[in-house]
C-alpha cells in the first residue's frame, strides 16, 4: 500500500457493507448484503443476471439510496455523504456499460474525471499516465468518445475513473460486450493498476472464471443475497460454483 495514509490499520477493511438493504421502490434488489474489502485487495462479486451486482455498486456510490444497514468507507459511514463527494474521498466507480461522455473528446472525458481536482500540472501528468497505460487513447485524444470501439470505450471509462485518483475502484462488468482478446487486455491492466498503484478493486462480473482468476477473494450474489464468500482460488475450484457459473 503506497498512498493509503488515512486508514491507520491495514488489517481494517477499507470498505465494508453491513447488512445493506436497498432497491428501487417496492422492488428490493439487495437483502442483508454484508461484505468487506481490505486495502490492496481485488474482490470479485459474481452472480447471474439480476442478482443485484450493479445495485450493490450503485448503492455504495449513493446513486441507489440505502434503505437499511450501513456502508463504512475508510472508517466513516457514507450515509451522510453525497454521491459527488465520494470521488474526492477516493471512491470511484466505472459504471456498467461504460457510460463515457459520447460527444466529448477522449481528453475532455479524462479531464472530467479530474473534476474535483484543481491541480492542473498534476492533472496533465495523470492524463499522460493514462495514455501510457492505454496508448490507443493517446492516439485518439481528439476523437469523440462515442466514436471509439467498445474496448476503447472501456479503457476510457477506466482511465476516467483513474483520473479521480481512487483508493478504491469499483468496476462494473468491465468485460461486457467485448471480444475475448480485449477482455484479457483489460483484466491485465486491472491487475496492473492494483499491483503498481496499490488501488483496491471491487469487481463485479458475470464472467466468473476471469474475475476469480484476477481476484484475491470472491463473493457470490444470488437474488440480492450473499450466498458464499471465500478465497478466489477456492471458489474457482468449488464444484457448485463450477457448475453454476463456469458451465461445467
Amino acid at each position: 500500500m503506497s498512498d493509503n495514509t488515512t486508514s491507520n490499520n491495514p488489517t481494517e477493511p477499507i470498505l465494508e457493507l453491513k447488512g445493506v438493504y436497498s432497491g428501487y421502490g417496492s422492488i428490493k434488489a439487495l437483502r442483508d448484503v454484508s461484505l468487506k474489502v481490505y486495502p490492496g485487495e481485488i474482490v470479485a462479486i459474481i452472480g447471474a443476471n439480476g442478482a443485484g451486482k450493479s445495485t450493490t455498486l450503485m448503492t455504495i456510490c449513493g446513486i441507489v439510496p440505502l434503505e437499511k444497514g450501513d456502508i463504512i468507507y475508510n472508517g466513516k459511514s457514507t450515509k451522510r455523504i453525497a454521491p459527488e463527494k465520494l470521488p474526492p474521498l477516493g471512491l470511484c466507480q466505472v459504471p456498467e456499460g461504460r457510460r463515457i461522455f459520447p460527444r466529448l473528446t477522449v481528453e475532455e472525458n479524462l479531464i472530467l474525471g479530474a473534476f474535483y481536482r484543481d491541480d492542473k500540472p498534476e492533472i496533465k501528468k495523470d492524463i499522460d499516465h493514462v495514455y501510457s497505460l492505454f496508448p490507443v487513447l493517446g492516439e485518439r485524444n481528439r476523437q469523440k468518445g462515442g466514436t471509439l470501439s467498445g474496448g476503447e470505450q472501456q479503457m476510457l471509462a477506466i482511465g476516467r475513473a483513474l483520473m479521480t485518483k481512487p483508493k478504491v475502484l469499483l468496476l462494473d462488468e468491465p468485460s461486457l460486450g467485448l471480444a475475448p482478446l480485449i477482455i484479457h487486455q483489460i483484466f491485465e491492466i486491472i491487475s496492473d493498476i492494483n499491483k503498481n498503484q496499490g488501488t483496491t478493486i471491487l469487481l463485479v462480473e458475470q464472467n466468473a472464471n476471469l474475475a476469480l482468476q484476477a481476484a484475491t477473494r470472491g463473493y457470490v450474489l444470488e437474488t440480492g443475497e450473499i450466498t458464499l464468500e471465500d478465497k478466489a482460488s477456492s471458489l474457482l475450484h468449488n464444484p457448485e460454483i463450477r457448475k453454476a457459473y463456469l458451465g461445467e
Binding site: P83, P95, R103, L112, P135
Partner: protein, 411 residues
Amino acid sequence: MIQEFKKIWKQYAITMLWLLGILWPLLGIHPDGTLSFRQTFTVWSYILAGTFICFIFYIINKSDNFKLLTEPIANTSQKLNNSLQSMPSWIWKSALLFGAVIYPIATGRYATDVAINVLLYVSLGLGLYVVVGLAGMLDLGHIAFYGVGAYTYAILNVKYGMGFWVCFPFAGLSACIAGCIVGYPTLKMRGDYLAIVTLGFGEIVRIILNNWMSLTNGPNGILGVKSIGILRPVMENGFTFEMFWVTKLELFYYFALGLAILTIIAVTRLGSSRIGRAWESIREDETAAELMGVNTFYYKLLAYAMGAIFAGFAGALFAARMRFVSPESFTFLESVMLLCMVVLGGMNSIPGIILGVIALIALPEVFRGLESYRMLVFGSTMVIMMLFRPSGLIAAKRKKMMETKQPEERG
C-alpha cells in the same frame, strides 16, 4: 446517365399521372356540376415542368456529372476556410465589431429597430443555450424569464420611480430567482417531463402577468416606462451633471449591442470553464457525471439561474425600449421561436445561435410580402434542417482544453 434515367423514369411517369388523376377531381369538378379540364391541365403542366427540372438535376447528380460543378466550389470554400483560419481571430472580430458600431449610422431607423430586436434575442438565445445546449435540459418556457425581467423593470420604474441602472441588476436577480423556482422542483426530471413542466411554467408566468391587476395592470400592460437615463456632464454653469434620456433609437442600439457583447463574452467564458465542463457532462450522462464527482443538483440549478439572468437583463432593456410591457409579448409562441433559433443555428455553438437569431428575426422582415406563409416556412425549414443538418447551421467545434504531449513523443 442513361442508365440512371432508365432506373427511375417509370416511377416518375406513374407519379405524374397519378398526380393528374387526383388533381382533376380537386380542380376540374365545380360545385355547380360542370366539368372542366383546362385549369387542371395548366396547373399540372406547371408542376410537370418544375418536377422535370428537379428530375434532370437528380439524374445528373446521381451519375456524378455534378462534380464538374461542385468540385471547384468545394475547393474554393476549402481554401477560403483555410485562409480564414490562418488569419488571427482579432482581425475579423474587430471588423465585425466595427461593422456593428457603424451599422445604425449606415442604415435607417427601421433597420436599427430590427437590429435591436436581433441583439436582444441574441442575449435571450445565449441564455437558452446555457440551459439547452450546454446542460442539455429542454426549456420550453424561457421567454417567461424575459417577461419577469421586463416586468421587474416596468413595475419598479413606474410604481417606485427607480431608474434603469438601479433596476437592471434587480431584473436579472428576479429572473434568476424565477429560474431557481422552476429549476428546483424539476431537477429530478429528465427529457419530456422537464419540457412539459417548463412549458407549464412559461404559461403560469404569462397568466399571472395577465391576471394580477393590482401589480401588473393585467392585459392592459404597464404604460409610461422610462427609457434609460444617463448622467451627462454639462460645462455651461460650471461642471454639473444633467440627466439625459436615451430616446433615440440609434443610441439605444448601442446599449443592446453592449448587452449582447457582454452576454457573448460571459457565455463563452462559462462554456469553456469548469462549470461549462460540468454542464456538458450532465448533458452527456447525468449518472456518470455524478459518479465523477459533479454535483448535478447544484450545476443544473446554476444552469437555470444563469440562463434566466441573461434573459432578465434582456427583458429590462426590452421594457426600456418599448416604454410599455404587456403579457402579449411573452407568449408560448415566443418561447418556441426562441428555441427554433437556438436549434436552427446550432445548439452547441455560439456563432450558430447568433446566425439562427438573425435568420429568424431579420429574414422575416426582409420577406415581409410573404408574411402569411411565415409559419409554414419555419416549419418546413426546421424539418429540412433536422434531416440534413441536425447539428445546426454552424456545428459545434470541439476545441482542445488542455495541452498534453503528442502521442508520438510518448513512445
